[in-house]
């Protein structure tokens, strides 16, 4: 067994690991509340557009595929860390960062488009809840990207230490969690919106 595998296993037994999982559960409750709000309000279009007329399926699907791929590459950085490949860790983190930023760009682009065409959050309860639910996910992605940047610098400077491997493990949980949330957003907001449910 080499050193990094030990480090990962140590992280998985640590208090921080458990604490972070519990934090993820609280974030889950946060998103559950936002989904509930969306479920209540998504028919309240107030004479404005509905999801059926606004959402483009190919666009949402592209976003989904990019985010899912970034989850995969972030998993690869974890495998690289277990094998103690520092340069591979950095490589996959950078790839994940690029995919994540692309996703965020696409999301902001969509928001901008909606606002420009007059379909902002002021129009209806439906659009308020749409912007807030998807925007909260986007905000989480932004925090993840910030974290990823700092972590990459730390790995470059300090190598795969106890601290950086811990950071990497937690970041991976966070990133996969955001992926799961996005799958719910894709299903509930875009797919169900597309068929008009």
């Amino acid at each position: 067994m080499d050193k990094s595998v030990d480090l990962v296993e140590k992280v998985e037994k640590s208090k921080t690991y458990l604490g972070f999982w519990i934090y993820i559960m609280t974030d889950c409750v946060l998103f559950a509340s936002l989904f509930a709000v969306y479920a209540v309000l998504h028919h309240n279009t107030n004479g404005g557009p509905s999801g059926q007329s606004l959402f483009s399926m190919p666009y949402a699907l592209a976003e989904t595929l990019i985010l899912l791929t970034s989850s995969f590459t972030s998993g690869l950085s974890m495998i690289a860390a277990r094998n103690n490949h520092r340069s591979k860790v950095i490589f996959w983190l950078v790839v994940t960062f690029l995919l994540g930023s692309t996703f965020l760009y696409l999301e902001l682009h969509e928001f901008n488009h909606l606002v420009q065409t007059g379909d902002s959050w002021r129009v209806s309860g439906f659009l308020s809840s749409y912007f807030t639910l998807v925007g909260t996910h986007g905000l989480h992605i932004f925090v993840g990207l910030l974290w990823m940047t700092i972590l990459t610098l730390v790995v470059m400077k300090r190598g795969l230490t106890k601290g950086s491997v811990k950071g990497l493990t937690l970041l991976n949980i966070f990133w996969h969690f955001l992926d799961v949330i996005w799958i719910f957003i894709f299903s509930v907001v875009y797919l169900m919106g597309h068929v008009g449910l």
Binding site: V29, V37, G125
Partner: protein
């Protein structure tokens, strides 16, 4: 419409214009703060305060600071209560009382908000910080720095709430700020924003504490302490913190959405634009009802420890107590609709929530009977914690039965929003929560300070509180049935309310006397602290691990971590029924002090203040500051200090030498 306008946002000279009573409040606050600053400078205590307290990561010290802040807030919100009672005693017929309606509604909103979030929650987290690590045989909580951040966020929220007294106004929309009243259209001032952001900041602190204590209880228990050997207080905190992590994210979301409505013109809870005000009421109570149990469960836990200790018997029905806690945890998420049966969700839905509400009384009843059976045939010592307990068990049961009555939807349709309801929940919060925390404070005081409080005076305080409570709140039950609604600042003289309101006002004075006696108790005990010194470390003949160490407990709690074989380990060791196993002393690590919690709170306060007044640059400053501090802390890997034999207290060194 301006979202972020100008260098000072919405802030202008009008924000500093108040009526005479508010100026008086501001002056009192400023003078108190000035006096404290002066005293600290005169006695050259700043360095001591900073290095021993403000930057401390010792949960016991953080606990004491929580309690100090909470007591201040208790007095402040108690003054609000006194003002309300005075207003209602005189504001009848042609007399309009001394508070304008616009001020009166701020007073009752501030009273509720302060009492729940900053008095009750503060006392609770204070006692949890003091109690939990000691009771599970641990040297610390799982995340000492996070604990300090939680505390300082609590302080930042408290400061923001009190800033509203001096700059601008406070929310007049009640302690839960129901829309549409709390929407921009009907509450155009920044009062509701103060409410939102002080809760938001303190709430995030509470959430972090919830995570911290769950991990502490799961991971930091000493060797041999399996879950079913934990003291009941620890179980109750476990239940309460589980509620925190499920409930507080809902609060975060709900008040954020309200803020988005007000700031960006969204339509979550507005009457027009496709919003749904009743959704707010549902969401806020999905947090709010568990919140009530978050507060009461630790009080139940404290009473469980106290009753066993002062009856000199093991707690009756330990297992059923544990199951009762978890039944309450689960059921508390299934009853929220009983706060608004009048929403009109139909007989079936109301019936379900009514029945669930009645069911939750069963585990609570189990606990009541278990305490009574613990006392049965015990050798009861009537120290002041026991007096609090006996006041609690009677008043809480009466209030609880009133709650079951309110759970019947047809009855609730009559009593909803009346003073009957106000009397009911004060029975829960004052005689349940507050009495429990007062008992806990008396009980653990010697463990923290090394000397006991004078018990005789403590008993008088308890008697005054109990009698005062009855005089203050029984009239409210009657008034409620007579049709008096809550939050009235004026009523017609032919309703016949006035005499009962005057009686209730007298009750508040008696409670005030009780509080004053408590201040006397503490002051007089500090004066005679040499005489009251706790030399044994075990003043009450206790049962749990905290009494096995010296008083005051050293910063590291246990020089040698104890080994637990059964419940009430320490008691059984004293009875020679169980042998203490002698571990060897090993060096250990303790966290270094950190001032970063304080810094985070400074930035969080700036952020909150900026959000209230729409000051863009200050908002960015606060946000970037918080993020920067988190990054700086996470990059610092040198956070701990080695503790060797020479660093131990003299008592511990002696004990270890004697054993070897």
């Amino acid at each position: 419409m301006y979202i972020f306008a100008g260098i000072l946002g919405l802030l202008n000279i009008d924000a500093f214009k108040h009526d005479l009573i508010q100026y008086f409040g501001v002056a009192a606050m400023t003078l108190t703060a000035g006096f404290v600053v002066l005293a600290l400078t005169y006695f050259k205590k700043w360095k001591w305060l900073f290095s021993e307290w403000l930057t401390s990561l010792d949960p016991k010290r953080i606990g004491v600071m929580y309690i100090a802040v909470a007591v201040l807030m208790l007095v402040k919100a108690g003054t609000d209560a006194g003002m309300m009672r005075l207003q209602q005693s005189i504001s009848v017929g042609s007399n309009q009382g001394f508070l304008k309606p616009s001020h009166y509604q701020q007073v009752f909103s501030a009273h509720g908000t302060t009492m729940i979030f900053f008095a009750a929650m503060g006392l609770m987290f204070g006692l949890i910080n003091i109690g939990v690590p000691l009771l599970i045989g641990s040297r610390d909580v799982a995340f000492p720095f996070l604990n300090s951040v939680s505390f300082w966020l609590f302080v930042a929220g408290m400061l923001l709430l009190n800033t509203s007294l001096a700059i601008g106004d406070f929310s007049g929309a009640g302690w839960l700020a129901y829309p549409p009243l709390s929407e921009l259209q009907f509450s155009p001032s920044t009062g509701v924003d103060y409410w939102i952001w002080s809760l938001q900041i303190a709430g995030i602190g509470s959430l972090l504490s919830g995570i911290n204590f769950i991990v502490t209880i799961i991971k930091n228990r000493t060797k041999g302490m399996s879950l079913m050997k934990m003291p009941m207080f620890v179980w109750s905190v476990f239940g309460s913190m589980t509620l925190v992590i499920f409930a507080f994210p809902i609060l975060t979301v709900t008040i954020t959405l309200l803020y988005l409505d007000r700031l960006l013109g969204m339509h979550f809870f507005t009457g027009a634009g496709g919003g749904n005000p009743m959704m707010y009421v549902n969401l806020i109570w999905a947090w709010g009802h568990p919140e009530v149990y978050i507060l009461i469960l630790p009080a139940f836990g404290i009473f469980s420890e106290i009753v066993a200790t002062f009856s000199r018997k093991r707690l009756f029905g330990y297992t059923s107590m544990v199951w009762a806690i978890w039944a309450i945890v689960l059921l508390s998420f299934t009853v929220w609709l009983h706060h608004f049966f009048t929403m009109g969700s139909g007989a079936d839905v109301n019936g379900f929530f009514g029945i669930m509400t009645m069911i939750i009384a069963i585990p609570t009843g189990v606990k009541i009977f278990n305490w009574l059976f613990t006392m049965f045939r015990g050798r009861i010592k009537f120290a002041s914690p026991m007096i609090w307990f006996m006041g609690f068990i009677i008043l809480f049961s009466i209030g609880g039965v009133a709650g079951v009555l309110l759970a019947v939807p047809p009855a609730d349709f009559q009593l909803n929003n009346s003073l009957f309801l106000v009397a009911h929940f004060h029975s829960m919060i004052v005689s349940g929560v507050l009495f429990g925390y007062f008992a806990g404070l008396t009980y653990w005081f010697p463990k923290i300070y090394g000397f006991s409080l004078k018990d005789e005076i403590g008993k008088y305080a308890a008697y005054f509180w109990i009698v005062g409570f009855i005089v203050a709140f029984v009239p409210l039950y009657i008034l409620g049935i007579m049709g008096a609604t809550r939050r009235m600042n004026h009523y017609s003289s032919n309703l016949g309310f006035q005499s009962l309101f005057i009686v209730a006002g007298i009750g508040v004075l008696i409670i005030g006397a009780g509080l004053f006696i408590q201040v006397i108790q503490v002051a007089s005990s500090i004066r005679d602290r040499k005489k009251l010194q706790d030399k044994t470390g075990d003043p009450w003949n206790g049962r749990t691990l905290e009494w096995s160490v010296s008083s005051p407990a050293p910063s590291y709690n246990f020089a040698i971590l104890p080994v637990v074989k059964e419940r009430d380990q320490f008691w059984n060791e004293k009875q020679n029924q169980s042998h203490k196993s002698h571990n060897k002393f090993k060096d250990f690590y303790m966290p270094k002090n950190s001032y970063l919690g304080l810094v985070i709170a400074f930035f969080a306060f700036s952020l909150g203040f900026a959000a209230v007044w729409h000051i863009l640059w200050l908002f960015i400053f606060g946000l970037v500051g918080v993020i920067a501090v988190i990054i700086i802390r996470s990059l610092n890997e040198n956070r701990e200090l080695l503790v060797t034999f020479n660093d131990l207290s003299k008592a511990d060194q002696l004990a270890i030498r004697n054993e070897q």
